[in-house]
Amino acid sequence: MRLPLVVLADALGSHHALAPSGPQAGTIARLWWLYLAVVAVVCLLVVLAVLLAIARRRSRSSLPEAPALADTARPAAEPARALRTLDPARERRALRFVTASAAASAIALALLFVESVVTANRLEALPKSDALHVEVVAQQWWWEVRYPDSNPSLQAVTANEIHIPVGRTVVFQLNATDVIHSFWVPSLHGKGDLIPGRPTSLALRADRAGVYRGQCAEFCGNAHAFMAFSVVAEPPARFDAWLTRQRAAPAPPATPAEQRGQQVFLNGPCSLCHTVAGTTAQGHTGPDLSHVASRSALAAESFPNRRGWLAAWLLDSQHLKPGNHMPAVTVPPADLHALIAYLESLR
């Protein structure tokens, strides 16, 4: 079960805070490299100073020889005189050196602090005119994604796979229904918490097309480790086409197998939790399945969206993602094949 996650991460491409694909992640990465440079220099200097101190102590030690074993019986009558006498000139030099080092450290810290504040301001300054608004509602343990529109019938709802246009600012409105989660796409931005009852927002822009993996960055329960998502940045024309398809209801089932599968879906437990647009399945506790076949992975990017995985997920989801809220779907084999055919038709 672990191997597919690794394979999927590679297949999904960048998931790396130091491989930024947008201005926000770029700003954060620059700050990170600055800190690394300053801290590396300081670390090197400190190590050198320690080595130097050890070397100098060895070569110019003025402490007396350790007393012979027989002498320890005698009480230490002259401990004070055994200490090295202080050399005023050397002490003045040492004091100047320590003062200079302390001042340099303070200045370096102040500069780093100023740079942090500048970075935070720069992150807020991303232009948000003509931004695309996307609502992300985190639930245990999946991501509900809504593309709102002033016309309610043009609203699109999907899950776990967020598409955005390249080169355009996207403002994410973040909310949660149960516990605190955190929205983190390392290649595009830092983390943004999704707090129940307290909406937050996160603005970012992808400057390169690609699939960027994200994951929940705040421990949220049993299946927190299996709560990933992907941000697919694509050219504006492709994004518009995708959004148009998402807004529309899926095509009705065509083949007899798909139609039987739809009956299984509507009469069985599926419709109690899931929504398929255009049908009577209007459950809102699980992910929207209207276009589930158009997604590249299932169960919050836990495994690829392929027939075998889908069947395994339906039959025993607890084995793949322990603790998640999806129960096992116990249907006879013929019904299972029909159900899978139907789900694969929901593009």
Partner: protein
């Protein structure tokens, strides 16, 4: 520490740990609780209460609730109580369209099998039949929670706080204990 005292401490710790095991274990994939597919009605068949009640033998003896001693399952039942909109008629146990569940009156009895049948086969005067809609493991979790609302389940297994705005004390603080025998409400 004198040896007898330390032995006593060890024994009591062992007793606590042994007793706590079933309370805390989380059986996500509880194959033993599920019925065989044959006991679910065939897809597409009418799900009238009579047909379901007549066709389906209960998968467990009436007296046994698999989740009465399991705090995780009772809490899952609490979650499902809201998810499947039991609150729509029963509110948070106080009732409304449907009868109250936090009182001492059990129209059809408080045995696990009776509550299971209520959920799966429905009851007159408006309780829907959820056979084939709610998987059996989740029905048993709901059974455990309904019995917890009624005060039958052990105190240390009851949910300790609500996950949403509280409209009543949490289950562990509801001051009621049900008699085990069913009592019938006066017909309206």
């Amino acid at each position: 520490m004198d040896p007898r005292a330390s032995q006593l401490l060890l024994l009591s710790l062992a007793a606590i740990v042994a007793g706590a095991c079933t309370r805390e274990e989380r059986r996500f994939s509880d194959l033993a609780v599920w019925s065989q597919p044959a006991s679910l009605p065939p897809i597409g068949q009418a799900l009238s209460p009579d047909a379901v009640g007549a066709a389906q033998p209960l998968s467990r003896p009436l007296a046994h609730s698999p989740y009465d001693g399991n705090a995780y399952a009772v809490n899952e039942g609490k979650r499902l109580f809201t998810w499947f909109n039991c609150t729509g008629c029963h509110a948070q146990g106080g009732g409304g369209e449907g009868p109250a569940l936090i009182d001492r009156t059990w129209r059809y009895g408080s045995e696990p099998g009776a509550v299971f049948t209520s959920i799966v086969a429905g009851r007159p005067k408006g309780m829907p039949a959820f056979a084939g809609k709610i998987p059996e493991q989740q029905v048993w979790q709901l059974v455990a929670y309904v019995r917890a609302l009624g005060g039958i389940v052990r105190l240390d297994v009851q949910p300790g706080r609500s996950d949403s705005l509280s409209v009543r004390p949490p289950e562990v603080m509801l001051k009621h204990r049900n008699p085990p025998s069913p009592s019938l409400e006066k017909p309206r």
